[in-house]
Amino acid sequence: MAEKQKLSRETMAFRVAKEFEDGMVVNLGIGIPTLCANYPSPDKEILYQTENGALNFGPNATPEEADLDLVNAGGQMVTPKPGMALFAHDESFAMIRGGHIDMCVLGVMQVSDKGDLANWLLPERGIGSIGGAMDLAVGAKKLIVVTEHTTKDGKPKIVRKCSYELTAQECVDMIVTDLAVIEVTDKGLVLKEVAPGWTAEEIQELTEPKLIVAPDLKEIELM
C-alpha cells in the first residue's frame, strides 16, 4: 500500500476548484478558499464575486498593478478584468442572499453531519467576526467547506453536533479536507474520496459521525 499522504493547502484548493463548472459565479472566503482562484481550469470561465462589491475581477495584483481601490474581501489587491462590474454592499448581499451565487467556498472550525457550519466565533478569544459568512452560507446555491480534517490536537472537526457558535444550519453541501472529500446528503455524510494511502476506516476514526462509504470510493486525484 502506498505511503499515507495529506493534502497541502494548495492541493485542497486545487481539489475544490475542480468542482467549479463553466460559467459559474463563485465566492471564495478568506484563507484556503482564496487559493482556489489559483487553479482555474483553462476550459472553464468562472466569474468570481467578492462581497465587498465586485464581480469578475482578475488575479491578485503585482506591485505594478496595485490599486488601493480594488480589493477582495480579504483585503488583497486584485486586478480589473474585461467584463467586471462594481457595486455597493447592499447590492452585493442582494446577490448573495438572493441565491445568485452558484458556489461558495468557506473555511470551517466545525461541521456537523447535518451540514451545520461553525466558522466564526474564535473560542480562544471568546469573540469573533461574523463577517459575510452567515449570508454566504445561507444564500449560496452550493456551499463547499475546506479544512484540515482534525484540529491541531487531532480532534475531529467533522462532528455530530457543533459545540462552537453556529454560522448557519444545514447549509454545507460538500466537505474537502486534507484527507477526504465528503458529501453531505439527506442520509448523512457520504465519503466519496480519500487521500492517497488512506482507507475509509482510517478516515472514520478521525470523524465523529458515521460515514457512509460511497460504492465508488476513490483516491483524490492530486493533479
Binding site: L55, G83, M95, R97, G98, H100
Partner: protein, 260 residues
C-alpha cells in the same frame, strides 16, 4: 468555454415559456422602455394563462395607433398590451392597470370588465420593492404604504414606531423580460435614460431573466463603474434588429416631429 448569453433570436429567447407562467414585464408605460420584441416573440410562442407583473398593462395594438401619433413610435412597435390582445393573460399584478383617460380603454381593461382576467393592483413603490425582495432573498417586509386603504386587505399589520405597516411578500416569477441598451456576452447591462425604470429593478428577480438590447459590445467596452445590472442577474440576451435600435427610432421620430 467562453460564456455567451447571447441567443440567436427572440423566439429562441422565449422558447421555454409555459402556460400559467408568471412573467415580469419591464418598462414603465411608454413603448420605448419595454421589451417589445420579446413580447412579440412571446405572442408567437402562444403561452397562455400568464400572470404578468408590470407597472402598466399596456395599450395594445389599437390604442398604440393613437399613442404613436404623440410619441412617434414606429407603428409596428407595440407594448405589453399585445399579450392581452392575444388573450394570453390570466392575471395582472400592476400599479397602473387602467389608463387615466376614460377614452383610452385598453384590451386588458375590456377583458377586466368582462371578468375574463384578474387584477391585483399594487402601489408602484411596493411593486418595485416586492420585485427587489425576490431578487434580494428577503422573505417579506413591513411597508408603510397601504394602511387604511384597499391595499391592506387580508394582510398582516404591525405598528412600528407608532406607524402602521402592512406585510408585503416578494413577487416570485418564472421569467423576466426586460429592455436594456447595451450588453456584453456575460450579460452585464447598461440602460439609456429613464428606460432604466422597472427594467433594472426586474433584472435578476425572476428564475430566468431575458434582456432585449440594441447592441452587444465587446467585453471590456462597458465601464465597470457604470454597469447597472451585473452579469449574474442575466440569463439570456437577444439583440434588436437595426430598425428597432434607439438611435434609428430617435432619428425617425425627430424627423417626423419636425415635419409637423
Amino acid at each position: 468555454m467562453a460564456i455567451n448569453k447571447v441567443v440567436d433570436s427572440f423566439d429562441e429567447a422565449v422558447k421555454d415559456f409555459f402556460d400559467g407562467a408568471t412573467v415580469l414585464l419591464g418598462g414603465f408605460g411608454t413603448p420605448g422602455g419595454c421589451p417589445s420584441y420579446l413580447m412579440e416573440a412571446l405572442g408567437r410562442h402562444g403561452a397562455k394563462d400568464l400572470t404578468i407583473v408590470c407597472n402598466n398593462v399596456g395599450f395594445g395594438k389599437e390604442l398604440m395607433q393613437v399613442v404613436a401619433m404623440f410619441t412617434k413610435a414606429p407603428d409596428w412597435w407595440y407594448d405589453g398590451g399585445q399579450l392581452a390582445d392575444n388573450r394570453q393573460v390570466k392575471k395582472a399584478i400592476a400599479a397602473f392597470p387602467v389608463l387615466a383617460s376614460p377614452l383610452l380603454v385598453s384590451p386588458f381593461e375590456k377583458q377586466l370588465r368582462a371578468s375574463e382576467v384578474e387584477i391585483d393592483i399594487v402601489p408602484q413603490g411596493t411593486l418595485a420593492e416586492r420585485i427587489r425582495a425576490a431578487k434580494a432573498g428577503i422573505g417579506a417586509f413591513y411597508c408603510p404604504v397601504g394602511p387604511g386603504t384597499i391595499v391592506e386587505k387580508g394582510k398582516e399589520i404591525k405598528v412600528i414606531d407608532g406607524r402602521k405597516h402592512v406585510l408585503e411578500y416578494p413577487i416570485k416569477a418564472d421569467f423576466g423580460l426586460i429592455r436594456a441598451y447595451k450588453a456584453d456576452r456575460l450579460g452585464n447591462l447598461i440602460y439609456r435614460g429613464t428606460s432604466r425604470t422597472f427594467n433594472a429593478t426586474m433584472a435578476g428577480a425572476a428564475k430566468v431573466t431575458i434582456a432585449e438590447v440594441d447592441e452587444v459590445v465587446e467585453l471590456g467596452d462597458l465601464d465597470p463603474e457604470s454597469v447597472v445590472t451585473p452579469a449574474l442577474y442575466v440569463d439570456r440576451v437577444a439583440v434588436r434588429p437595426e430598425a428597432g435600435r434607439t438611435e434609428i427610432i430617435q432619428k425617425i421620430s425627430k424627423e417626423e416631429q419636425l415635419q409637423k
